[in-house]
Structures are given as structure tokens and as C-alpha cells.
């Protein structure tokens, strides 16, 4: 297949970026999208040019490091699929593919397609955990947890922290990311204890990082490679409100 790529190039944060066109003549359908970028980079090296920097690591759709806006959609055209799991059989001979970094106020571009997502880490640092020290845990089966509750908690816990929800949101909000963690922990008895304070702290940190607020459009859920439901945003709001009513944090 012949594929024309239009890629955002920006060597470093202080530089002005632009879209640059590249043409690949020999793309096969069985290739992954990132294998294709590797092939482009091989060509660039042979021409003595700087490679396109892009984030990736596990290439199994679980580490959350890949972060490409492909043809205007976070992670590209295939639902429930990270960019690293996307394969070229989704495209056709002669296609033009636009590749941009995540665009959000809280995610400054570091180089080409690589953005700084450390704001997401700081949201978790604000409270996305159970306050327990190693070696002090009670017996695991001491607290039974219903299969359904465990399963719902799991659905929220599958968030890979890629930031696609932020990139897709017109407000650049991190509500789905934050809600997934709040929801995961508040549905389990272990995390229930700190739930209201957790919600308040994480939301405050989210605001401080420059993420926008939620206006219930649902673009986040549509692009989430793990299919995390916006229902969790409802649960986050409920926990947050509960904290307020109880005069909590």
C-alpha cells in the first residue's frame, strides 16, 4: 500500500511546530501502525534526517504510553484499540493519514508526537490510592467482596492512563481519568474509607493542572481504548458531593 503521512514535527518545546508530509510506498496490511512509523524512521535515518519522536513501549495496548491523534481521533479509527494495537489493514492504498500529538492545555508537547502527561500522575498522587503501608495488611479473605462489585471496580481499574480522554475532550478535561480511579477505589471496601476526601483532592488537583471541566459530551468514552464508561463520572460527582455534604475535605 502507498500511504501519505502528514506528521506534526516540533523538535522541542520552545520550537514552533508544523505538519510535514512523508510518503511510504511499501506498507503492508499486516503491519501495525507503529511498525509503519518505525519504517518511516528507518527511511529518515538513511536520509540523514532526525527521526519522528513518538511515545510507545509495550505495544500490547496495556502500558498506555502510546499517544497518537490519528486522522483527528485519539488512537485512530478503531474503537477500543490503542494506537499500538492498530494495524494497517484499517487503512487503504492511497490513504493520507494525519498524525498529531495529544492536544490539551495540560499536555505540553515535548518533541514531535510526545507530550508531557505528568499532570495525570499528580492527580493520582493527590489521592488515587489506599493509605496502607507494606506489611500491615489484614488477611485477604477477611473482607468478602461481591463478584459484581469486584467486577465493576475492575472495569474502572482497567484505565491505562493514556490521556486519550483528555485529548478528545473539547474542554481538555481529565474527568474520565480521575473518575475511573475514584470509582475503582470507592467501590471496594478497602478504598471506601477515604472515598470522599479522595474525590475532593483529586478534583482539586485536576483543576490546578489546567484541565477543563466536564460538559457531559461523552467524547472521552468514545475514544477510550478500554471502554471506560462515563457512569464513573457520575460516581465521582456523587462522591465529591457527598464529601461536601458531610463537611469533608
Amino acid at each position: 500500500m502507498k500511504i501519505t503521512l502528514k506528521i506534526w514535527r516540533q523538535e522541542h518545546r520552545g520550537e514552533r511546530g508544523e505538519m510535514v508530509e512523508y510518503v511510504l510506498d511499501d506498507v503492508s496490511e499486516a503491519m501495525s501502525f507503529l511498525d509503519m512509523l518505525d519504517m518511516l524512521n528507518r527511511d529518515l535515518i538513511r536520509r540523514g534526517e532526525r527521526v519522528v519522536a513518538f511515545d510507545h513501549d509495550c505495544r500490547e495496548g496495556i502500558c498506555g504510553q502510546c499517544s497518537l491523534h490519528i486522522n483527528g481521533r485519539a488512537h485512530g479509527p478503531r474503537a477500543l484499540t490503542t494506537a499500538c494495537q492498530l494495524h494497517m489493514r484499517e487503512f487503504q492504498d492511497g490513504d493520507t493519514v494525519f498524525i498529531e500529538p495529544w492536544r490539551a492545555r495540560a499536555f505540553p508537547v515535548l518533541s514531535d508526537l510526545v507530550v508531557d502527561r505528568s499532570a495525570l500522575d499528580r492527580i493520582v498522587e493527590a489521592g488515587g490510592f489506599v493509605s496502607i503501608n507494606a506489611g500491615t495488611a489484614p488477611e485477604a479473605n477477611a473482607i468478602p467482596i461481591g463478584k459484581a462489585a469486584a467486577s465493576h471496580a475492575f472495569d474502572a481499574a482497567t484505565c491505562i492512563g493514556c490521556g486519550a480522554c483528555v485529548a478528545a475532550c473539547q474542554n481538555g478535561s481529565a474527568m474520565l481519568f480521575t473518575a475511573a480511579k475514584v470509582s475503582h477505589l470507592s467501590m471496594l471496601p478497602q478504598g471506601r474509607v477515604e472515598a470522599p476526601e479522595r474525590a475532593a483532592r483529586m478534583v482539586a488537583q485536576m483543576d490546578a493542572e489546567g484541565f477543563g471541566s466536564c460538559s457531559n459530551i461523552g467524547a472521552c468514552e468514545a475514544v477510550c481504548p478500554k471502554g471506560i464508561s462515563t457512569q464513573h463520572i457520575g460516581r465521582l460527582n456523587w462522591e465529591h458531593l457527598r464529601g461536601d455534604l458531610a463537611g469533608g475535605a
Binding site: H12, S28, A30, M31, S32, D35, M36, N41, R42, L44, I45, R46, E49, R50, V51, A53, D55, D57, C58, R59, E60, G61, I62, C63, G64, Q65, L80, Q85, H87, L110, S111, V114, R117, S118, L120, D121, V124, E125, A126, G128, V130, S131, I132, A134, G135, A137, P138, E139, A140, N141, P144, I145, G146, A150, A157, T158, H184, L188, Q190, G191
Partner: protein
Amino acid sequence: MLDPKIPEGPLNEKWSLHKSRIRLINPANKRGLKVLVIGSGLSGGAAAASLAEAGYQVECFCFQDSPRRAHSIAAQGGINAAKNYQNDGDNIQRLFMDTLRGGDFRSREANVYRLAELSTNVIDQAVAQGVPFAREYGGLLANRSFGGVQVQRTFYARGQTGQQLLLGCYGSLSRQIQAGKVRMHTRTEMLDVVVADGRACGVITRDLVTGEIQRHNAHAVVLATGGYGKIYYLSTLAMGCNASAVWRAHKRGAYFANPSFGQIHPTCIPVMDEHQGKLTLMSESLRNDGRIWVPIGAGDKRPAADIPEAERDYYLERKYPAYGNLTPRDIASRAAKEVCDEGRGVGPTGRAVNLDFRDAIERLGRPTIEERYGNLFQMYETITGLNPYVQPMLIYPASHFSMGGLWVDYNLMTTVKGLFALGECNFADHGANRLGANSLLQACVDGYFIAPYTVTDYLAEYVKAEPIPVEHPAFERAESSVREAITDLMSRRGTRTVDEFHKELGTTLWDSCGITRSAKGLGEGIERIRELRERFRVDLQLTGSADRMNPELEKAGRVADYLELGELMCRDALRREESCGAHFRSEFQRDGEALRNDEAFMHVSAWEHGGAGQLPTHHEESLTFESVEPGVRNYR
């Protein structure tokens, strides 16, 4: 002879006796002691969080953009623990024995016992952190069985157990970062260990965004940098996984143990395209319900559905009736290679075998299979475009886990004083072959429950001592050698990319030091690697600059290290004239099964770096087994 410093006492009391003798440090003094942790996966993240909880100042480093992305996240199947929740006769002794036997009696008995002993604490810890393990309707934790064992002791969170355990660990780490007790350095790669006055006192790092080279000093350094299976280029590992931290530590004096012991995982998606950069693992748990087979006749190209039952060879069930499809990984991998070598492989390249769920779907119904493996089936379909509910999965072995790693004593300290190695980057627990669902276990045990004690014992010597300052000549020397290596790489003006060299190294190693090895093949492998290293020196082409983000420079540094480690792997495999676990020498077999030589090789091979142009020196740690007479592994 190396001294592993195994404590006195009966096997089942060693760790508790040892803990009770370990020196303590009062909280005020702990605040003055600093530890660097390299790596933020399950062992590194757990050690960083736990050491910070204990009161030390901790700095933690990872090359990814967040500690949550370390490769522990990709472990699918589960984590073993001797909880005996299923009341099927499991206990610490059995987990210990299964691990020891799985490792083919090439692991250290005392370490393995401790691993089994502490397994129960890990589950308690993870549940308390909010890890959503699978549960039964009554609300208690569920288990499943895994390769190489006959009890159900594996805890799991769908096919994402590593992700959930790592996120629990990341939560604990984040809590300590928020508390100001851990300083996290993301997108930072460790490029050297600094050794002064005979002990590790810091590291040199490169900021992967700005290219800045930095010095960091401390009272102790903990490496938790994972395995080096990516050396084969095509592997199940993340693209960034590398051996650089351990290799550079090795060059500073840390012995490298059993480098040739690498696990080839039997159930991976086979190569589908020549440009492929990695292989994807399909969890071994699939072998619980999937049946592995190939056609009886060579060159049979019919679709699986058209091959009648009588013309299928369920070769694992046939050869190993007691364990069937659940034989340990090394045996399953070798058997797959054998049937493909016989021309009976399936799929587009003939280098694949069928993993068939037809019977399981008939027996249990599709909903049950979906619940157990849904996300794995989905992943398979995404990658291959094939539907495993209607046709068998195609699988083939791929490089996966490193049993070899830095030599450590019972305290997980390397031969460099003050330099510790945890998790996959050390060698101690898995012998010549790792049992399924034991890697997450080892990472957690090392990080949460061992290092906090043994690092404390070491630091007790340095209470009130200032760390060696970064102005010390040892830091000066280490920094300049790092800078020189980078300048050297950047100055190469050849014609071939880093990946091309890496692929060639991978193919060479796969052929000479892969599933089967021979003296002849290993000798040729060493020659080819040396020649490749020379070409890498003159014919490498890099672009970009060293003081900006430059992914090619990062890869070049890692491949330079792999080109040295690859040779050591071959040397180690060549020296070990026996077959054991994953190390299968074609000259040493009986009826196609590995033939161990306990008289000559009941030891750990620990290699000391020889310096530039010099051969490494071989040291031994002899292995003794007080609990059991080492038997021949028999899964038939």
C-alpha cells in the same frame, strides 16, 4: 567460591531468624539515609514505596513517562500464592517444591523457600491496596491453575493481573511522592553506577528530554530494571526493556549469574510481518482450556476445521499425559519447535501450532470462555484479524523472561557492596526455568518484603555518615565515561540503523543460544557477535543530537550493551555442558528430554567482567539441597 550468606537454621525458619537478627535504625536516623531505586515496576516501585514508608529518603528513576508504565504492567496470567483457599492440598512446602523443581534444581533453595513463604503476604498486601482480583459468588478470592503445577493457587485479575498489581504499587508509590518521601525522576535513564571506597554510592543518568547528564549520590543503590529478553529483538517485552543498567553495573564489578538462562514462552502470536517490532504473548492460562495440536502429517495445509480428529496430534497430551497441555514452559516451547522442525507447523509461515478452544467451548459454553479469556481473544483478533472462537489460535514460542541476572546473596545484594538487585534483574529464585505466575510474585516479594529489611541492615553501617559527595573523583570518572560513550555513538557515520543491528543480533542469538543450543552453534554465535560488534562500531548511522530527545541514541546505547551481553550468554551456555530447564544442549539429552549433570554443574555460574578486550572470569556458587534429593523432572 561465592558466599551466598544463607542464614543458619532450618529452611522454614531461616528468614524469620534472619529478620530477628537484622539491625534496626531509629526513625530520626532513617531520615538522613538516602536510597536510589532504578526502575518503577513491581519490584522497584514496591521497594521505593516501602523504603519511603520505612522512613528513608528515596529517589526513584524510570525511562518511561510515568512509573505506572513499567513492563510489569503487561503480565497477564496471574500471581501464585500458597493460600490454599481452594483446599486442594496446597501449602508453602508445595509452592516451594514446584518452584524448585520447575527451575530444575538450579536455583538457591533458601531463596526459593522464602519466596513461597512470603507469597501469602503479597495477596494480603495487594487486596488491601484495592487490587480487584477475581472473586467467587460468595465474595472470596478465586484461583486458577497454571502450567507446571497440580493445584489451583494462581490469583488473577482477568488477563491483566500485572496491570492491576502494578497500579496498586503505583498507588503506594504515588502516596509517598505526595508525602515528599520519594522523588520521582521519569524519562530518565541510568547510564552508570558509581562505585567509590568499594561500595555503590550513586548513579549517572541522562534526562531523555533534555539530554542532560546528571549525578545522583546516596547511601545505597537498588536496581530493579527487569529482564533482557529483548536482546533477541523479537520478544514479548516492551520496546524499551533493556539490560543497560545491569550490564553497566556488571562492568563496575557486579557478577552476572547464569546469563544464558532465558525463558522462551510457548504461547505467543507468531510473526505475521517482516517489519514486526515485537511479539505478543498470549497468557499461559489459555493452556488451561485450550488444546495444543498440529496435523499428524507433514506439510498438511488444510484449514484446522477440515482436519479430522484422527489426523490431529495433540502432542503435549500424548507425550506428557500427567500434565498434558500444562507442562512447564521450556518443555512446551521445545515441543512446539520440534513439531515445526518436522514440517508439521501451521499458519502462513509454518512456524506455528494450534491452540484450540473448540472442545472447551463445547464443554463450558462460549460465555464462560468469554469471561475467562475475553480480553485475550479480543487482543488476538485485533493483531491477527483472525477469530479464535471459530478457528484455533496460532501460537509459537518467543523470548520472554530472564532467569539469569545479577548475582545476589540472600540479602539481594550484588558483589558490589551497597548495590542491590531486585525482581527479574537478579537471578536467584527461578533457577533454569521460571514457573508460570512466579514472576509477579518474586517482584512483589523482593520489593515489599525483603529489600526493606536487608537494605536496612546494610544502611545500619552508615547511620550518621554523609553520602559520598557528587564531586568525588569516582563521579567525575563515571560521568566522563558516560559522556565519551555518547559522543562516540553520535560520531558514527555508517550506513545501518540501530534496529538493523539489533535484528541481526537477535537472529544470531535465536539460532545459537535459543530453544536448543550446541557447542558448534554457540562457538559460531560468539564469532558472529564479535564481528557484528565491530561492524556496529564502524557502520552505525545515527541522526539527531545528544542534547535533545533522541530515541535512536537511547536504542544505540542499549544495543551496544546487548552486543556484549549476547557474547556472555553464549559463553555461559557453552560452558554449561548439560541440559537443564530452559537451557537445552542438543549434545546432552536422553530420549529427547534434558539430561542434567549434577556432578559437574550443580552450581550457579557467576561471571566477573574481564575489562576491555579481556575474557570474563568464571566463579561458582555451589548449590546444595537439604530438603530434597534433586530428582529428574518428570511431567509425563
